[in-house]
């Protein structure tokens, strides 16, 4: 049980030691912050998806949502629109998509996987329409977004890390220490029983979809601030790494129950892995092989070593 509970932390420490030995530059402050910067997007998306999974639902569309927010924000920048307005439009789009997902899944009772897959494809189409399919970038990125995502504080700390830190702390408190968070675990764990103790299961599930959408919006804005450009599939590459992060993170501390500290640690772990592989010069396919193996081994850990089965997670 100890191995399941702390296995992820152990694995993280092991790869940090291994990469450090193989490549001393792995420990330079610049590289460490670069890892955390890479972890930010996956981490923020994972904390949103995590809430949806806690409620017993799933969302396939969060990455496409991120792409759409990204291309619309960049398009607005290209038209020299007010940076603050762009920011709120981005968050509004993300949140609206989450709300529509909740209508489809919670109200209309379409299975979450199918409904949000439809949403994903739809959003991808809209993003392609907005950009005409091409990579787009503004001539001039507003100062606001440079400060938000691509400048460095004290020359080493990438500013995007602050957003991740704030959302991370908020998520730990919300999922682990708030009444609403506990109610979400109850709703996902046994919706019938949750109703019998007077909880509003639909409201909890709806809130998770809406928050997930909001965080997709944040991730989209952060991503384009880092890249200063967008294309219709900038978010899509984060789909599977984020899903892996959420499930891998569920091993940490709780042996199979999705939790915020686990998601944060596993986002950093995934980013370290990808960064380390590049730094020590492993071939391009090594990362995929490693990620796939890690997910399957982690799930084996839950199902074989841990007493818990995965039946609480419905896909």
């Amino acid at each position: 049980m100890f191995l399941v509970k702390y296995g992820l932390l152990l694995a993280a420490v092991l790869i940090w030691i291994a990469f450090g030995i193989l490549q001393h530059r792995f420990y330079s402050p610049i590289n460490i912050f670069s890892i955390i910067r890479q972890a930010s997007i996956i981490g923020i998306l994972g904390l949103g998806l995590g809430g949806i999974v806690i409620n017993g639902d799933f969302d396939m569309s969060f990455a496409a949502n991120t792409s759409l927010v990204g291309v619309i924000a960049i398009t607005m920048m290209m038209n020299d629109m007010n940076p603050v307005l762009i920011f709120f439009v981005g968050l509004a789009i993300g949140t609206t998509v989450g709300a529509v997902n909740s209508l489809l899944v919670v109200r209309a009772r379409i299975p979450a996987f199918i409904a949000t897959m439809g949403m994903m494809i739809f959003l991808q189409g809209i993003a392609k329409y907005v950009t005409g399919g091409a990579e787009i970038y503004p001539i001039h990125v507003p100062m606001f977004y440079k400060l938000f995502g691509s400048s460095y504080t004290f020359g080493v700390i990438p500013n995007g890390v602050f957003t991740f830190a704030i959302i991370g702390v908020a998520a730990i408190l919300f999922y682990g220490y708030s009444r609403r968070g506990r109610y979400m675990y109850a709703s996902g764990g046994n919706p019938d029983a949750a109703r019998h103790v007077g909880l509003n299961v639909r409201a909890n599930r709806t809130l998770a979809f809406v928050l997930g959408g909001l965080l997709s919006g944040v991730a989209g804005l952060l991503l384009i601030s880092m890249l200063r450009a967008a294309n219709p599939s900038i978010g899509q590459g984060y789909l599977f790494p984020t899903v892996i992060t959420v499930f891998l993170g569920s091993l940490f501390l709780k042996g199979g129950v999705v939790n915020a500290p686990g998601i944060i640690l596993s986002a950093v772990f995934m980013a370290s892995l990808s960064n380390g592989f590049t730094m020590i010069g492993l071939p391009f396919y090594a990362k995929d092989i490693a990620q796939g193996l890690i997910l399957v081994i982690a799930l084996l850990g839950i199902c074989v070593l841990g007493r818990k089965s995965m039946r609480d997670i419905k896909l």
Partner: protein, 502 residues
């Protein structure tokens, strides 16, 4: 010479770390007899059966099937050797037909591997007709009634022509008529010389079907007698070391005119029609009726899980429209549901989290965040509450490791934590599947809630003796409405109540 026993055990012992679940048991089943196993939960009867059927391996002692020593490594070994077990929970595949379920994995084939439909169907029909079961084999089992599904299970168990059939609480979810049909099948099975081991918590049933009865207590076989030589009181004495007169609490009814709940002509669009009854503070009202007679449906309606189409519900004289369970709880109406695993417990939560869910607001600290230490203290208070004491080792322990009685106590204790806000407490089959010791505790609690705390208590049960033993009044349900109401002092015998329910 063939053995005179279908199954025999000698000095059978099964020890788990820290506990001897089955202790030196000598036991035998004759061919053609129904041998009932009785005992409180945890008395060792289910472990005993699991050793027989190969789920567990004996620590010492031996098992003989028709005189030959056997040591099964798995239930499949047992099945092939001639010992079939039908478990309490159903294991049918809902969208396959009766034939397909019965013959699953054993279908007759043709042209290599294609299923020979007609031959397979004939096989299933043969088994059915042999035991005289009236059940359709060509419809999907999900369309069958629970009793018919149970019969399909038994037919499947009979496929291997077992010499011994083990039935674990086969009637747990059946109505009275359905149970009769099941007995018919069992009688036909034993007429072929098959031995049957029958586990049940319902004493009345055991007396109807069993030839002999063996009683377990604390892992030891305390008695084996002909059913004819035992009566209800004697069984309870053996099971508990306690007399039946001590089982039900003293009832001191103090009738008041004050009205807590007035239900007038309530109907819904599905099952309930024209239901009227009243509940006063300090009173326990029993709801008796067959499964499906509308008792649970009414409880769910009062708790806001479903809605009425006509009629009125008044709480303390004022009409209320209960929108959902959250609203019912605000009004002081609490429900302890019948299906504990599905509607009550959170298996992903530990004991503490299961107990505190309705009272989370009590230990929120700064910023509205949960103070985990205060929560653990609150949970310990709830668990050690003088009204109903939970037996546990750690307030953070997983709830799977708790006994049925303790799980039931979680659901009740959860509401007791909010007792000051309670007006009406509804308990749906609170004693189902739990042992007599805990039943006794629950009876006393029901009375105390009414008499000492002046709540209105609705007690739903299928066990007539306990309804009469605990309630001030009994409402009898049939076909979705209350057909008769008796005050406690008007009831002379059980038959008087039973005739209204059927």
């Amino acid at each position: 010479m063939p053995s005179m026993f279908a199954l025999e055990t000698r000095h059978l012992t099964k020890a788990f770390p820290g506990v001897i679940a089955v202790n030196d048991v000598d036991f035998a089943v004759r061919p053609g007899e129904v041998h009932a196993l009785l005992g409180e939960n945890g008395a060792g009867k289910s472990t005993f059966c699991k050793v027989l059927s190969g789920v567990h391996r004996a620590t010492s002692g031996e098992v003989l099937l028709e005189g030959k020593p056997v040591a099964f490594r798995s239930p499949h070994d047992a099945l092939v050797a001639g010992l079939s077990m039908v478990y309490q929970e159903r294991n049918l595949i809902p969208f396959l037909t009766g034939t397909q379920n019965i013959c699953l994995g054993k279908e007759e084939t043709q042209y290599g591997s294609l299923i020979h439909e007609s031959k397979t169907r004939r096989m299933a029909r043969e088994i059915r007709d042999r035991v005289g079961a009236h059940v359709r084999l060509d419809v999907e089992v999900e369309a069958l009634r629970p009793s018919e599904q149970q019969v399909i299970e038994i037919l499947r168990a009979l496929f291997h022509r077992p010499r011994l059939l083990l039935l674990d609480e086969p009637t747990a979810s059946l109505t009275h008529q359905d149970t009769e049909m099941l007995y018919e099948v069992i009688r036909n099975v034993i007429s072929e010389g098959v031995g049957v081991i029958f586990i049940s918590h319902k004493l009345e049933e055991v007396f109807k079907i069993a030839d002999r009865i063996t009683i377990f207590r604390d892992g030891i076989r305390v008695a084996t007698e002909l059913a004819a030589d035992l009566d209800r009181d004697a069984c309870i004495r053996h099971m508990t070391n306690r007399d039946i007169s001590e089982l039900y609490p003293d009832v001191q009814a103090k009738p008041t005119d004050e009205r807590l709940l007035d239900v007038e002509n309530v109907s819904d669009d599905k099952k309930l029609h024209d239901i009227s009854f009243t509940l006063s503070p300090g009173e326990v009202v029993g709801f008796y009726g067959l499964v499906g007679s509308g008792r649970t449906e009414l409880a769910e309606l009062l708790f806001g899980l479903s809605s009425k189409t006509s009629g009125t519900v008044k709480l303390r004289g004022e009409e209320v429209r209960i929108r959902n369970p959250g609203h019912a709880i605000e009004q002081g109406i609490f429900l302890v549901p019948e299906d504990r695993a599905r509607h009550g417990l959170f298996s992903s939560f530990n004991l503490k989290e299961n107990l505190t869910l309705p009272v989370m607001s009590r230990f929120l600290g700064k910023l509205g965040l949960i103070d985990h230490r205060a929560e653990a203290a609150a949970a310990t208070d709830i668990a050690d509450n003088g009204e109903l004491r939970l037996v546990y080792t750690d307030i953070q322990q997983q709830i799977d490791s708790l006994s049925g009685g303790n799980k039931q106590k979680i659901l009740i204790a959860r509401w007791l934590a909010k007792r000051e806000d309670a007006a009406v407490m509804i308990l749906d089959e609170p004693t189902q599947g739990i042992d007599i010791g805990v039943k006794h505790e629950i009876y006393e609690l029901l009375r105390r809630l009414a008499e000492k705390h002046q709540l209105g208590v609705i007690f739903i049960s299928s066990e007539l003796a306990e309804v009469i033993g605990v309630s001030d009044r009994v409402c009898i349900f049939k076909d979705g409405t209350i057909v008769k109401e008796y005050r406690r002092d008007e009831i002379q015998n059980q038959e008087q109540v039973l005739k209204w329910a059927f």
